[in-house]
């Protein structure tokens, strides 16, 4: 303890606060899995007993599987598209000083702050005036728009950490831009790309509001859950489904953040 400097010496109340904060952050979410194993149709205390029946029931429901597949399809397409676009954009933003660059970045980052409902209705209006039937494709378009900021925010620190002389060295050793990208840029920024793929997949997989306005006849998983929320007797199975979604999301996001952890540290240090 005495090895810490004066400024950094431990602060007990703050430490307690931090722990309470973390617990409060997770507790509400943890009630979902807790009650999903409860042997009662009512989501309330006292707990009546342990059961897996809600999960079993879930596995036999066709619509759940269909919705899951829809979400996976949209999520995968969104992740690949948003990350690919993000790679080009992050590369351009970090390597070149472009006129109006700040405005362009702010523009790309807009979906991060502007309420999703505005983008949702705007895209809905676009699709209807173009006569496009709402489908998983329209959902994916919406998701690419809102995932791009995440992809770019994840990729930019990686590209900033890329020593520009590495690419110059490759050009100097005889490789053109294309091969330089494949042989040098991509392998070096790979953790960022993987993280971007995982994070944008999760964002799309869990996204509700765009899907709410842009889904056609095939619902994504969050849309399916939304539909079930009207029926209180469905609560236990929704809890089971939610628990699984949250567990999977946590794992994917944690993996993504972990793969990319050194980029975080370097951004903060700047």
């Amino acid at each position: 303890m005495s090895t810490e400097s004066y400024i950094r010496r431990p602060n007990r109340p703050l430490q307690v606060y931090a722990i309470i904060f973390l617990i409060a952050l997770y507790i509400p979410i943890l009630f979902l899995p807790l009650f999903s194993f409860n042997d009662s149709i009512y989501v309330s205390f006292p707990l009546t007993g342990f059961t897996l029946q809600w999960y079993e029931e879930l596995f036999q429901r066709e619509p759940v599987w269909a919705a899951l597949m829809n979400s996976v399809k949209v999520g995968a397409a969104t992740a690949v598209l948003a990350t690919t676009l993000g790679i080009f954009a992050a590369k351009a933003i970090t390597k070149y000083r472009l006129p109006g660059q700040n405005a362009i970045v702010a523009f790309i980052m807009l979906p991060l702050v502007v309420p999703g409902i505005i983008f949702g209705v705007a895209l809905l209006v676009l699709m209807s005036s173009l006569g496009v039937t709402l489908s998983l494709y329209t959902v994916a378009v919406g998701h690419v728009i809102i995932c791009l900021p995440f992809a770019i925010a994840t990729l930019i620190p990686r590209f900033e950490g890329l020593d520009p002389s590495l690419e110059e060295a490759s050009a100097d050793l005889g490789e053109n831009a294309w091969h330089t990208f494949w042989r040098v840029t991509l392998p070096v920024v790979w953790p960022g790309i993987l993280a971007s793929l995982l994070l944008t997949f999760t964002v799309s997989f869990d996204e509700f509001i765009m899907a709410f306005f842009l889904t056609g006849t095939e619902p994504t998983l969050p849309m399916y859950i939304w539909g079930q929320l009207r029926f209180p007797q469905q609560f236990p199975s929704v809890l089971a489904l939610s628990s699984m979604i949250i567990a999977v999301s946590f794992v994917i996001v944690f993996l993504g953040q972990w793969i990319n952890r050194d980029a975080h540290i370097s951004t903060v240090r700047k």
């Binding site: 952050l25 690919t84 351009a92 309420p115 005889g174 999760t202 859950i225 952890r261 903060v268």
Partner: protein
């Protein structure tokens, strides 16, 4: 390093032939700006299709009028006039600003000590703490709001828990379907947006400034208010901006937890595009919300500028 007999006198032989390039490739070679925009162009095209064009259409549609299932495409500001005249729209807008204002204040106040703790008192595994605090943010917003419905519900975790423990005789009704429920849920959901910018601005503070303040006679409290807090204000402003703007137009939380009293502008917009089926009115409300947000955005921008200038 010269024990071997390798020589490279035949240097010129193995060199690749000198080649000239095509016109466009040559231009790309020469102009950095062109190369940069070339790389950005796919993203810009997608953003144009996904944001610029939809907004243009949305603005146009807000000037139309709904007739049955079709539109009268004569341009008129009637929708905006209605929105300004009928008190219900203004009231909802006002309520949205109040609710998200409270949610913003609560989130920032609760998150600041946490960010401070990680920035100054966590030495090992900082990354782990940050991931832990932001992890829930990445997972389904819908499900997090749903979790609060489970917690606050009439027969939910709190009520049934308190009943079971014998602390109350009847369920507390104010928990669900109230503005408080919306504020609590919003604050919980947007914590990551507060912690990250505040943490970054705290981490950037040069530790020797704090030592200097101590050296010049400040105790921990004076030091915090005279040095740490002012220097972290950009983070606080950014956090407020990042929470206030999106929560103003939130749909899910008021829809699931607000009840009639907790309804916000987002729900009204959805109503116009859904059950009411008055798209032009919905478009006007969306544009109105957008204008509100832009105005608030400008205020935050000005605040940031003031703070940055004061520190420069």
């Amino acid at each position: 390093m010269t024990n071997t007999n390798v020589t490279l006198n035949d240097a010129a032989v193995g060199a690749p032939p000198v080649r000239r390039r095509g016109k466009f490739a040559g231009m790309l070679q020469r102009s950095e700006t062109l190369r940069g925009f070339f790389l950005l162009s796919p993203t810009l095209v997608v953003m144009t299709i996904g944001i610029v064009i939809p907004f243009a259409i949305l603005i146009t549609m807000s000037l139309w009028t709904a007739i049955g299932f079709g539109f009268d495409t004569t341009l008129t500001t009637a929708n905006y006039e209605t929105a300004l005249e009928q008190p219900v729209y203004g009231a909802l807008m006002h309520r949205s600003l109040v609710i998200s204002g409270w949610a913003t204040v609560a989130t920032v106040l609760l998150s600041y000590p946490m960010a401070y703790y990680v920035a100054f008192h966590v030495h090992k595994n900082k990354m782990m703490w940050i991931v832990l605090m932001t992890l829930p943010f990445w997972t389904s917003y819908l499900l997090r709001v749903f979790a609060w419905k489970v917690v606050l519900g009439y027969e939910g975790v709190i009520n049934s828990g308190l009943l079971w423990a014998g602390l109350i005789d009847a369920p507390l009704e104010f928990l669900l379907y109230s503005q408080q429920a919306v504020v609590i849920t919003l604050a919980h959901s947007w914590v990551a947006f507060a912690i990250l910018p505040i943490y970054v601005s705290l981490e950037k503070i040069d530790r020797s400034l704090l030592e200097a303040a101590t050296d010049l006679g400040d105790g921990p409290v004076a030091r915090f208010f005279r040095i740490t807090l002012p220097l972290s204000m950009p983070g606080v402003i950014a956090a407020s901006f990042l929470i206030f703007i999106p929560t103003t137009g939130d749909y899910i939380t008021p829809a699931l937890l607000g009840g009639p009293d907790g309804m916000m502008i987002g729900n009204l917009i959805q109503l116009q595009f859904g059950p009411v089926n008055n798209w032009p009115m919905g478009a006007s409300l969306a544009i109105g919300l957008m204008l509100y947000i832009s105005a608030i955005g400008l205020v935050f921008l000005a605040l940031t500028k003031v703070f940055k200038e004061r520190m420069a």
